[in-house]
Amino acid sequence: MLGFLARRLLAALVVVWGALTVIFVIVRVLPGDPAAVLLGTYATPQLIAEQRQRLGLNQPRPVQYVLFMRQAVLGDWGRSYYEGSGAMRLVLGRFPATAELALASLALTVGASLGLGSLAARRPHSGLDRAIETVSLAAQAAPNFWLGLVGILIFSRDLKWLPSFGRGGLWHLVLPSVTLSVQFIGLLTRLVRAGIVEMAGQDFARTARAKGLTELRVLVRHIYRNMLIPVVTMIGLQLGTLVGGVVVTETVFAWPGLGRLIVTAIENRDYPLVQAAVAFTAMIFVLTNLAVDAAYACLDPRIRYR
């Protein structure tokens, strides 16, 4: 297990380095000059030249790359072009808001889809099953921004139950996390239902029932454990998405998360900030995958890592 972990961490470093190199090239290949964006429509050729000098953009790109990598290894991700603060500090400052939203909607997704999926799988092709399937398909198809705005209009403006924007207490979390979960719930409910239906007919389930276990115990102890592997995989993927890119929901609810930071950084051609954000999200992706792999081993004793 230790050797496995060491190898995985090494691989993780390679992945992060690869992602950084790719993003380093991509942001510089994109048309648009950071110095010009920085100065906006007030730019003059002289000011642009001075800013390029200040930002170190007039050096050849290979030199920029080597300098950037050397500093990154030392833990210095450079400063955002727009602000005095370090790029990584800005990224880390956004993480709590993002993690809060991601975990809340993940909990919501898992809870709701396990419940709904199990309910639907109890009697396949029954009226309830059909209804749940229709609703989950609709949920999967509903666009986030629309759901968010409608949610604001109903629950904030008309009913005045929930705050309409910003991050704060638990109440602030309700609308954004529900908005964010709806699509995932739709997807995962169908996955859970299919898994349960498939497992319910297997020999081990019959044996468990034959032992005299209640239907609930059979479901929780035997069936869930066997159908969870694809579900956990999907959850891992969703968690990655939740951390990296929920820009639309963040914008609608004025949620100060990572997504908006990254998108504005790209729009502004703020190279250091883009690089720091990519390094961070790549790391999160890698760690999530590692956690998913570890979860496989817990769920299925046959899986062992060496």
């Binding site: 000011l47 800013q51 727009y82 603060s85 991050r167 609810f253 004025a254 502004n268």
Partner: protein, 501 residues
Amino acid sequence: MLLRRSLAAAVVVCLLLAGTGIGLTTAAPAPSTVRVSYLQRILSLDPHGSAGAERMSWIIGRHLYNQLVSWDYSAKRFQPQLALRWRNIDPTTWEFELRRGVKFHDGQGFTSAAVKTSLERVVAMKGPLAPLFAPVQSIETPDPYRVVIKTREPVGTLLSNLTILAIVPAGTPATPDFGDRPVGTGPFKFVEFVRDARLVLDANPSYWQQGIPRSQRVIFVDIPEVAARATAVETGEIDIAVGLPPEQMKRLRTTPNVTVEVGLTTLTRALWINAERAPFSDVRVRHALQHAINVNAITSSLVAGIATPSTSPIASNVVCYAKMPPISYDTALARKLLAEAGFPRGFETSVKWTVGNPKEREVSDAIVGQLALVGIRVHNLQQPRAIWLDDLLKLNWDFEISTTGGGTGDPDFTLRRLYHTRSKRTGWSNQEFELVDDAAASVNLQQRCAMYKRAQEILWDQGPAVFLFDPLESYAFRTSVQGFKAPPSEIFGVADVAVSP
């Protein structure tokens, strides 16, 4: 079991995380707190850096800092701020007598050394404001309350440039770190800035102006989505919302407890024509374009209530504005002019623009449709800002939807900066127009205005642009807000605003 335990763990973690957030609640509805929505993203609180020319920087600057002088839009003259009196010793030497007893938020006294630091810092920061103060040759401080500014050549715009120069404490280094903990002499002092969420400012109890500020606290809140912004003022989660499109204004007009107003700006929205390129180098083609675009139709529908048709290349409240004769909407005349220029069947071209201004897409669609009526087939190209800027500055465009003006409220900021041959911004060049150089060098406002009037006539007549409309700014505020009125320019302040509980 495992599943249940991990689920429970996830829920606990969420609750804990959410719990940590509770103390951070935005906008605690304490009395005498004014909550205002952002207009755009706040990039930095450093008034001299690369964000120095952003509109949000100027709005924040009104609260955190003071300037030496301010421009009084109704009296049409400069008013004392940190400078009490000023005079020209000769055309290149200005003497300012400073206000006594003013303190910075950190307790330091305000003296002439702070003025010297601010002027030097804005140039050293090499931001967009630097060129305005580049002609300053020396700053002398003969005593703590006297500053003598010498310029290399006569600078007629010095006073108007000083209206946007925030005064920072003496000895402030020229590094962007200052923006992390800004200190000024303004009516409010810095408390907290959470990027993309809020900026919190508290009243400066020892502010030099009696009765100002009227509220204890100002919170600028970031709500990027306009529909959500309108809802927030409706629900009372914020007190003042700025920058709303016509459909939201219409809705809010009928909402109880909300008042809606529009105010002037110093901006002009124009369709720039690249006069360097054929066929636009032919003035007849540019005239045809002027007659082919129905500005009144656009301002009475797409931007109804948030714009008035342009009556000059500069907005009506810019210094030295002169009203120009209206240009008729006449497609027959436009077709005739195009035929004379050799394009009886029109031609193909493109318009470039970027998001950022209200209704830009609708306006560009309308222009494309209207020009099609005279045979000009326009490709409508929306660009990401970085690419748009690149093309704009490199003159890589045929048509460009451009919002000009703003800034100091001085015509020089628009006319000379953008349309002078040397500026290379529109590809247009006109010998006589270079009189704006003389206008900028004159320190006599009347003489300057006479020259700027001629400059406006040349631009209006020679048409390196079709001047579309002067955008208005929209404000929606709760009826509990006292003392707020739409300001005479796009830079608003809430120092004299209070909110009744």
